[in-house]
Symmetry: C2
Amino acid sequence: MNANWLNQVKWDEQGLAPVITQDALSGEVLMFAWMNREALERTAESGEAVYWSRSRRKLWHKGEESGHTQLVREMRIDCDNDVILLKVEQIGGIACHTGRRSCFYRTFDGTRWQTSEPVLKDPKTIYKYK
Amino acid sequence: MNANWLNQVKWDEQGLAPVITQDALSGEVLMFAWMNREALERTAESGEAVYWSRSRRKLWHKGEESGHTQLVREMRIDCDNDVILLKVEQIGGIACHTGRRSCFYRTFDGTRWQTSEPVLKDPKTIYKYK
């Protein structure tokens, strides 16, 4: 694969770039994560979202344990070349490890962050074959 | 203002949190930026997006020069308490300093990042009263 497009990304001092992932149809923002160069390359090659897990310090093929993979429908970059936007089809309809559709399930009500989205599936059953 | 909700945010080692800003109606992701605690507090108090500019190292009331302010319709936080999502009404319909609606105006076509969104207004005229 020609690497010019990978070289254009301005990776930060840790070699990472922020990634926003939204549902390709509804536009709902599902999650926020990070990629390094290899993660972005694998995402493009496989058509499924691959991130860099900062806590586990390794590549993270989203859904590798839960089955909730993300099929990438579109990939964008911002004006500063340092943030990536994925539009995906979320397999299983659940992006969050809490069993909710989106990780952004709490809304500020003027006083506190109030849970506003339901758990669709018990995380215990999502990760049972871990 | 009761500060519990501000204390719940897990600010990074620089005291910042990533912020995703999307159009409240269309769901289009408009931009990505950062906030510190004061920026988030001012955003909540004023109802207009206030970010922390990492390059200028100061609070940045979005639209302060362009007039393209962002009226905050909803504010969310993610499962890890370290990423904020704003749903806004974008005044002027232009979030990007290039004069485009969104900063994510380039789409990967399999080989390169291809410009896919038009310039709505010449930046020279946006910032003329700077």
